[in-house]
């Protein structure tokens, strides 16, 4: 190994493109995936930014924004000591009448607003909640105002023919599909007009976090037509649904593979040229009877250190680019993404090294005698 490191250091100009290629691959994978994760984390905002421990829904609900009506009476299943609070949660798409003309599909989200309520997103202040208690009062994201054709707080418009008034705005809650419209449970009911005694979700708060799995398991046994999921699981389900449904996952996969291929080719070329440059030296070692495995070890060692150096360079780059990226978008870099990006690029670097080993077939000591 020490000879590999010495070689890498003293011929760094030669190895630099390979190191850079590895760094580029890691960067591309991490940022591509991070950006996509960030993008699709938007779909689970209503779950992630609210306070429920468990979401009870219709079993065919693939994502939080695609809720279906369920009987409010299911709340009776939740009469158990581990459950401290249950509340209904109304949600559905509706056409927003743009005052400037035209329509826009929006996602109406109505929840309880009182003290200790689980449904409202954190961004709704006490003031917002007080204002939302008025019938027809709504809050939207500041950044969606243009899309919704409104210019200021206090503007009136209609959703599915029901008059609403914007009483405040929030930040950072832009959505992927229709803009979110936050309101009280009653306002949502009046807009969405569900069948009587129906709701979209039931939100559950448990006595403690440890009770969540117990309660979920028990609910599953009650009724097979019921879906109960811990908030985190429902969040993952929602993101996964959109990731796969929109085929963005495929686009991501292709982009990542492309990046990997570029990385692999450059790394391979680098290691190959380094190996070719030393073929005569290797041939001397072979003439002296040094077993082949040591030379193989040297080349593989070089690819290992090229990989490691590339990853070392990529880590601060990924960090800083993620920060830059977060200004305009959202980049999520969970630990498993780091692990995956690092191990995939490392594997590619090592494979490139193994491929470069093929050039060692040209090591013929006799060619040194001419």
């Amino acid at each position: 190994m020490s000879y590999a490191i010495s070689t890498l250091w003293h011929e760094r100009a030669r190895f630099f493109p390979g190191v850079l290629a590895v760094a580029f691959s890691a960067l591309l994978i991490a940022l591509q995936c991070g950006l996509l994760l960030g993008l699709f984390s938007i779909t689970s905002i209503p779950i992630d930014e609210s306070d429920a421990d468990i979401w009870v829904a219709h079993p065919e609900v693939p994502s939080v924004d695609l809720g279906r009506p369920i009987p409010e009476a299911w709340a009776s299943y939740l009469a158990m000591p581990e459950v401290v609070r249950v509340e209904p949660y109304m949600e559905g798409f509706g056409y927003w009448d743009k005052p400037t003309g035209g329509m826009e599909l929006c996602l109406v989200i109505g929840s309880r607003l009182g003290p200790g309520a689980m449904g409202p997103v954190r961004q709704l202040t006490a003031e917002h909640r007080a204002l939302l208690a008025q019938p027809g009062a709504i809050v939207v994201d500041e950044a969606e105002m243009g899309r919704l054709g409104i210019s200021k707080v206090g503007d009136y418009t209609e959703i599915v023919g029901k008059q609403v008034r914007v009483v405040g705005t929030v930040r950072g809650l832009r959505s992927l599909a229709g803009p979110y419209v936050f309101c009280s449970l009653e306002t949502a009911r009046s807009i969405l007009r569900p069948p009587p005694d129906q709701t979209t979700f039931l939100l559950v708060r448990c006595r403690s976090k440890e009770d969540i799995p117990t309660v979920v398991e028990r609910l599953k046994k009650y009724d097979r037509k019921l879906m109960a999921m811990a908030a985190e699981d429902f969040s993952v389900r929602s993101r996964w649904h959109w990731l796969t449904k929109t085929k963005a996952g495929i686009a991501l996969g292709l982009a990542a593979i492309l990046g990997l291929m570029v990385g692999a080719v450059v790394t391979y070329q680098t290691l190959r040229s380094a190996t070719v440059a030393s073929l005569k030296e290797y041939a001397v070692l072979r003439a002296l009877g040094i077993p082949r495995r040591h030379v193989i070890g040297l080349v593989v060692g070089q690819s290992f250190w090229v990989g490691l150096a590339g990853i070392a360079i990529s880590i601060p780059l990924i960090h800083s680019l993620a920060i830059v990226g977060n200004i305009g978008a959202k980049v999520l870099l969970p630990w498993w993404l780091w692990t995956a990006a690092i191990s995939i690029t490392m594997t590619v670097a090592m494979l490139s090294g193994l491929l470069a080993l093929r050039t060692l077939r040209h090591v013929e000591p006799v060619t040194l005698l001419r």
Partner: protein, 253 residues
């Protein structure tokens, strides 16, 4: 200690060696029924015009190139009856090589070039390999150059490192193909002295391909190869040194 050829068994015996390259019009007979016996402690020169087959003979005798026919017995083992693996092992135990180019790893220090052979070839520990490498470097007059890389060494110094790499595992055979070709005579002479010492002091069997007739006085034996035919002694000096540089050199003796 001087090994007298008449009282010792040869360490290397070869006979009936033939090797040709190409077919038909392109066919070259590089070796024609060559036989040779080499003794331990002898520094032998192999001379001859360009293209006469010197490198080919060296390769066949050292187990690097399969002859078309003939046998090579090294330490009474039939080199070309061995498997590739056995031949490799034989070279590891017994053979040192010096080639025309220095063929040193550009990124490694002089010491590392030598250590590498001991650590990889003999499985020596890092400290033992280092000790022996330093010892070899001072024998070669390179005691202060251990930490330098090939780029920082002169041609003569590089060739001495290459010689050190060939000698460090105490080979019983040392094969050198024009080791002084790239050096001026002052440095070439140093190299010849080193090789001669390796033969006379360590009892190695040394065969050196050379063009330069100034080396002849240093040699115990001189072989001459002409168009694939081997003869001992400098029988036809003027015919042997085909180019003018060599003729001049020969005249200087």
């Amino acid at each position: 200690m001087y090994y007298d050829g008449s009282r010792t068994e040869p360490t290397l015996r070869a006979w009936g060696l033939c090797k040709s390259f190409g077919t038909g019009e392109m066919r070259t007979e590089a070796l024609r029924d060559v036989g040779i016996e080499l003794y331990p402690g002898q520094f032998s020169l192999l001379m001859g015009p360009s293209g006469s087959g010197k490198s080919t003979l060296l390769a066949v005798l050292s187990g690097l190139l399969h002859p078309d026919s003939g046998r090579v017995l090294a330490h009474d083992q039939d080199l070309w009856a061995m498997t590739e693996r056995q031949r490799e092992e034989f070279r590891l135990r017994h053979c040192g090589f010096i080639f025309q180019g220095y063929n040193l790893f550009p990124a490694l220090t002089a010491r590392q070039q030598l250590e590498m052979v001991l650590r990889w070839g003999k499985g020596y520990s890092a400290s033992e390999a280092r000790r022996r490498a330093d010892q070899m470097l001072s024998t070669l007059g390179l005691a202060k150059k251990g930490d330098l890389r090939p780029m920082q060494l002169s041609g003569g110094e590089k060739q001495r490192v290459a010689i050190g790499r060939a000698l460090i595992k105490d080979p019983t055979f040392l094969f050198a193909d024009e080791p002084t070709a790239a050096l001026d005579w002052k440095h070439g002479e140093q190299v010849v002295e080193l090789l001669r010492a390796a033969a006379h002091d360590a009892g190695a069997t040394i065969l050196v391909v050379a063009h330069d007739a100034r080396m002849v006085p240093y040699a115990d034996r001189v072989f001459h190869l002409d168009d694939g035919v081997l003869a001992e002694g400098v029988e036809r000096p003027m015919a042997m040194f085909a180019d003018s540089r060599d003729v001049a050199a020969f005249g200087a003796i």
